[in-house]
């Protein structure tokens, strides 16, 4: 029973962490170019944003939950479940980041989630 908790953690903390990192990066603003000085400045600025650290912490929690789930279940079962995070990510993008997800993008997201599931079903 408590194993559902692991899967919930993988999807919710993983996607939530990425959303927090996205929030931080949107606040930092677009990188002006690929000059090392530009990149260093953007990273230094991002590391001062609390959302960044919250995001990294959540991604770390999801990573350990993934390791835990993998020690109990087969990869071919665990990873298709995590394909749910593509749909969760798009929902988070709309609600938390105020991105406008068009019907085209929704279609693409669903196709990717189906494709990732097939890839892992076909792994063994």
């Amino acid at each position: 029973m408590p194993h559902y908790f692991l899967f919930a953690l993988i999807v919710v903390a993983g996607t939530g962490g990425e959303l927090c990192v996205s929030r931080a990066m949107k606040g930092v603003g677009a990188v002006p170019g690929f000059h090392p000085a530009d990149i260093a400045r953007v990273i230094a600025r991002a590391l001062r944003v609390p959302w960044m650290w919250l995001g990294l912490g959540m991604m770390a929690a999801a990573f350990f939950a993934l390791l835990g789930a993998l020690s109990i279940y087969n990869v071919s079962f665990v990873v298709p479940v995590t394909a749910l995070s593509y749909v969760g990510g798009a929902i988070g993008g709309v609600t938390f980041l105020r991105e406008r997800v068009s019907s085209h993008r929704w279609l693409g997201v669903v196709l990717v989630a189906i494709g990732v599931t097939l890839v892992f079903l076909g792994k063994n």
């Binding site: 990192v21 990066m25 949107k26 993008g93 890839v119 079903l121």
Partner: protein, 160 residues
């Protein structure tokens, strides 16, 4: 060279204006986003493979008693593959951060799943791995999905 006396109001003299560079034109930002996603799709899987290869090459690892843990730690740090893997994963994360500074999360996340195709292709071509038809089908569906996502505008929000 002499400084011109009283060239302007005194408070303006000592202050250098910190102007941010002009925003990159639309075309540039599209190209940069695609480049970063391509880098993510290569560096991420490469880092995972190198890390896995490095760890497997170390054989059985013991973490108890504590002297064994220290020994294990040193063995891991002595592995070249592990360091290359870590460097690769750092490159992946930097590319990810920069991509998110340019484009939507709901664009970058599905688009970066093209990495599944990269992994299968690299495994097939370089390691001679057998890729099952179902897996190829999945990769084809992913590529189709990424193509559909790439038809949308990468950025739909203004800077916060």
């Amino acid at each position: 060279m002499e400084r011109e006396p009283l060239a302007g109001p005194p408070e303006a003299l000592g202050r250098k204006t910190l102007e941010s560079p002009p925003p990159a034109p639309q075309k540039h930002f599209h190209l940069q986003t695609y480049l970063l996603i391509a880098l993510m799709a290569i560096a991420g899987p490469l880092g995972n493979v190198l890390l896995g290869k490095g760890m497997k090459g170390l054989g059985e690892l013991s973490v108890w008693p504590l002297s064994d843990l220290l020994h294990t730690g040193l063995k891991i740090l002595a592995s070249g593959s592990v360091w290359l893997g870590i460097a690769s994963l750092i490159a992946f994360f930097v590319a990810y951060m920069l991509a998110l500074s340019l484009a939507d999360y709901s664009f970058v996340q599905p688009a970066s799943s093209i990495a599944y195709g990269v992994v299968a292709l690299l495994g097939h071509l370089m390691l001679g791995e057998r890729v099952s038809p179902l897996r190829w089908a999945g990769i084809a569906v992913i590529c189709l999905g990424v193509f559909v996502v790439s038809l949308t505008n990468p950025r739909t929000t203004e800077q916060v």
